[in-house]
């Protein structure tokens, strides 16, 4: 199956007074794995359901491949859209066997019994459940049900595969294995994947590109690396990787993607978008881009330890640095932590100057 493109232009969707989607433009390339990432209530599930055809947008248009599926004057129902969906609840039909679930869509295609059985067996083999074809979904464990849902989706071999938080109901210990399963499924199918999640680790690990959503709009759509390292806005920086925002002064124009900035009395060299003018700027830093240093250095931030939390591989030290950041800075620290109340210096190892205007 060759993946097809998905194109949304100006899609708006209202539920009563709530604008679930507020003018969304998005283009997913054929065969691309695009993850829509956002907090709950940001409109990401609505976006998926609009593409599937379970919601009709109030404005804008949706195109799947060459086919216009939703626009002010046409609407193609889900059953005619050549899509496959994995639901958060898996939505396995409890009155059918595993094989019945997987083969349901194939009956439609006029495939004969033997051809159907072969396709079902192949799909089940791909998820490692060949011998479970006769079981009922109720007799399976959580991750097995998830695999059946994937097999059902694969057997359909649709041009577009839609996944709605497929890992949300699984134990954390099983999620890693299932992520591998998605990668294998994508390699086997070659379809276009639209994957909705609120989990940034899933998004960073799986996506070709991430569309970051908030308030019914797309904040930024870019590769995982760019989203993480070069967030376009304060919201994007806060949501992905939990960045802290510090007021900074850019000393000069950025050269080669880096620039010298001052935060308080601390001078440092950080990543910066080219073209950002010198002067006031906002620096996004993450806890691992900061380091605790012994007191006595005049070119570092000075503060005191508010509290220290053990994280297993490291300590997370919260340092109060006066009015620069009211809540204090979170700093990753390896080795023996400083004591609570102790005065320390904080060094800025790296960071990212947020663009003056969205890039």
């Amino acid at each position: 199956m060759v993946g097809v493109s998905i194109e949304l232009s100006g899609v708006a969707c209202r539920f009563g007074d709530v604008r679930a989607l507020d003018g969304v433009h998005l283009r997913v390339a054929p065969g691309e794995f695009l993850v829509v990432l956002g907090a709950s209530g940001c409109g990401k599930t609505t976006l998926l359901r609009v593409v599937a055809g379970f919601h009709r947008p109030h404005a804008g248009s949706v195109r799947i491949g060459e086919m216009m599926v939703a626009s002010p004057d046409c609407f193609i129902p889900p059953e005619d859209r050549d899509i496959a969906i994995v639901f958060q609840s898996y939505a396995l039909w409890p009155h059918m066997s595993v094989a019945g679930n997987v083969g349901f869509a194939l009956e439609q295609r006029g495939l004969d019994r033997a051809g159907r059985r072969q396709a079902v067996t192949q799909a089940l083999r791909q998820v490692g459940l060949e011998q479970y074809g006769d079981r009922r979904p109720a007799a399976l464990s959580g991750d097995q049900r998830q695999r059946v849902a994937l097999a059902r989706c694969m057997a359909r071999s649709a041009g577009t595969v839609l996944l709605d938080e497929p890992l949300a109901n699984l134990d954390p210990s099983l999620r890693g294995a299932m992520q591998t399963e998605f990668t294998a499924m994508r390699a086997a199918l070659g379809s276009t994947f639209l994957y909705v999640t609120h989990d940034q680790n899933e998004a960073l690990a799986l996506a070709d590109r991430i569309a970051l959503m908030a308030g019914g709009r797309i904040l930024q759509c870019d590769t995982p690396r760019n989203i993480y390292e070069h967030p376009a806005s304060a919201e994007a920086a806060r949501f992905v990787g939990n960045a802290m925002l510090l007021p900074a002064i850019m000393v000069a124009h950025a050269i080669g993607g880096r620039a010298n900035v001052r935060v308080g009395r601390c001078a440092c060299a950080v990543r910066a978008p080219s073209g950002h003018p010198p002067g006031p700027a906002t620096l996004a830093v993450r806890a691992h881009e900061l380091a605790i240093a012994p007191v006595g250095q005049s070119d570092l931030l000075l503060g005191y330890v508010i509290d220290v939390r053990y994280q297993g591989s490291h300590w997370l030290v919260r340092v109060g640095v006066g009015d620069i950041v009211p809540d204090g800075l979170e700093v990753v620290h390896h080795g023996e932590p400083p004591a609570q109340g102790e005065r320390v210096n904080v060094r800025i190892l790296d960071g990212w100057v947020l663009p003056a205007r969205p890039i």
């Binding site: 059953e79 039909w93 009155h95 349901f104």
Partner: protein
């Protein structure tokens, strides 16, 4: 405060209450059935060999299965439109499907008799003669109409409970409407549909109002009617034989109920996850208006036209005279309202129904509390084990309970030397177990909606069982318990099955009065009393609009 202090001195108050409840429920509900079974042992074994009994038994089975099929068709049609489509006026359609719940069976029968009578709007099935109604066909049809709400409620709950994602998954798999209905919706709803059908068969087997009103003049007695005829015709001498016949009917009903449960469980594929139900909605498009109009027309023919004919008969000068403004008269109302018997019947029914409602709620609240919030495991098990005893007098044919009561109380009570037979008290003792499940189930549902933390918080403050019951549970359960009480009141006010055998001169109930006026040929007066009875029932049902919405959620027809 006094109660609080009292219960502190009696740490076992809870256990005492639980045991007292169990004894009371067993005495009211179980004892009559056991007494009936004991009496049946002494009956001559060959009662079932008589050809008339075999015929009646077959008639019961045939009309019950047929009636359940009619109910399945009617209730199923309304439920699928209300639960699955975007048809207009769905709320009105729900009310139309539930209307028979509110109308006593003998009034439904009387109303249909008026619709098909020579002077009625649809005289004699469009000319086939109204004999057709006084037959197995007529009984089957009206049993179906009477029990349509049972199927409607079961089917609507089953259809609305299907997780929307299961439908969406099928549509994403390319399935169109017909295939989604056939492959997904119907199989998932079938346990509910089977349960609704089976419950209706059980209810029809015990039904008395419709078969008595139609089958006695039509010489088509079902088993329940035959038992009634033999008892009223031959008196106490027939008691052992009647007990044996009633026991046979009870066993048949119980077998039907057990078989239903077994089949429904067999086909039940418990859904796993799948989000909230009720998101399945079929867009009817151009069919929206025709579907709604079609079902409203069915309601008009099945319920509205008969009731209108009933009203027409009640204001007609003479039976069969076509109704015109010039011939309309309130004479029949004047007559019945000047008869002491009418007033007596309304008062008797009102206090019996009111007392049954209050007793039901008084049993239901502590039973639900001990069962759901109690911390004595044996007590929870004890109250839980009462379920079949609570359900039996309601689920089994009313005539079974009535004969059990006669057997128990026809002789003077030991030591007290007073006999309850021939007094209205025997009716009250029968009404309470007969309608107890209608109070117990909604109160249980209401309690299930209350977070047990409410009780635990009071307990942490040191409040004992009775104090918690009156200070926490009763106020929180209040609206739901009130709704349950009204349900009992509405259902028992027009009761006929039990009263028909237990009433005594001077203590007729409204149901008995209508039945005997009709039997005596006073059709217009029977119609007038029926209209008055319906006015009272609609008034009480209307008053419940004053209850908060939360109260309604516990009633069987909410949703």
């Amino acid at each position: 405060m006094i109660i609080g202090r009292l219960s502190r001195r009696m740490p076992a108050a809870e256990a005492f209450l639980g045991v007292a409840l169990a004894v009371a429920v067993a005495w009211l509900g179980l004892l009559p059935l056991l007494r009936l079974a004991a009496a049946a042992v002494w009956a001559s074994g060959d009662v079932f060999a008589s050809p008339s009994v075999v015929r009646a038994l077959l008639r019961s089975v045939v009309t019950s299965l047929g009636g359940a099929l009619v109910a399945l068709a009617l209730g199923g049609a309304y439920a699928s439109v209300v639960a699955l489509t975007d048809a207009g006026a769905r709320r009105l359609l729900s009310i139309a499907a539930l209307l028979p719940l509110l109308i006593p069976a003998q009034i439904i029968a009387l109303a249909w008799m008026q619709m098909l009578s020579p002077g009625g709007p649809l005289p004699g099935w469009f000319g086939a003669g109204d004999d057709a109604l006084y037959s197995g066909w007529g009984i089957t049809l009206l049993l179906g109409v009477e029990h349509m709400p049972i199927v409607f409620l079961a089917a609507r709950a089953a259809l609305a409970g299907i997780p929307g994602e299961l439908i969406e998954a099928a549509r994403a798999g390319g399935a169109r409407r017909a295939r989604v209905l056939r492959r997904i919706v119907l199989p998932l709803a079938s346990p509910g549909l089977i349960a609704g059908f089976g419950l209706t068969v059980v209810a029809c087997l015990g039904s008395f109002g419709v078969p008595a009103m139609l089958g006695i003049p039509g010489r088509y007695p079902t088993l329940a009617v035959l038992i009634y005829q033999r008892l009223t015709g031959f008196g106490q001498a027939m008691l052992p034989d009647a007990a044996a016949l009633a026991l046979g009917l009870a066993i048949l009903s119980a077998a039907a109920a057990l078989a239903t449960g077994w089949v429904a469980r067999r086909v039940d594929a418990a859904t796993i996850g799948g989000g909230a139900g009720g998101t399945c909605q079929i867009e009817l498009g151009a069919w929206r208006a025709p579907v709604t109009l079609g079902l409203l027309t069915v309601s008009a023919v099945v319920m509205v036209l008969p009731l209108a004919s009933l009203v027409a008969t009640s204001v007609s000068r003479a039976y069969g005279v076509p109704l015109r403004p010039a011939t309309a008269t309130f004479d029949h109302y004047v007559t019945v309202l000047h008869t002491a018997e009418t007033w007596r019947a309304f008062i008797t029914s009102a206090w019996l129904a009111g007392a049954a409602a209050m007793a039901g709620v008084a049993v239901a609240i502590p039973a639900a509390l001990l069962r759901s919030w109690g911390d004595r495991a044996w007590l929870r098990r004890l109250i839980g084990s009462l379920d079949p005893i609570i359900d039996a007098p309601y689920a089994l044919p009313g005539i079974v309970l009535a004969i059990g009561m006669i057997l128990l109380y026809s002789r003077p009570l030991p030591m007290l030397r007073i006999s309850l037979y021939g007094t209205p008290w025997i009716m009250l003792l029968a009404y309470i177990p007969r309608f107890l499940p209608l109070a117990v189930r909604p109160v249980q549902a209401a309690l299930a909606r209350i977070d047990p933390v409410m009780d635990e918080a009071a307990r942490a403050q040191g409040a004992r069982f009775f104090r918690r019951m009156f200070a926490i549970a009763v106020p929180l359960l209040g609206p739901g318990a009130a709704a349950a009480g009204i349900l009992v009141l509405l259902t028992s006010f027009g009761e006929l099955t039990v009263s028909a055998l237990l009433w005594s001169p001077g203590h007729e109930t409204v149901g008995v009065l209508i039945f005997s006026l009709n039997e005596g040929g006073n059709i217009a007066e029977a119609a007038a009393v029926s209209v008055l009875c319906l006015m009272f029932l609609f008034l009480v049902a209307g008053l419940t609009a004053l209850l908060p919405a939360s109260a309604w959620r516990v009633l069987p027809w909410s949703g």
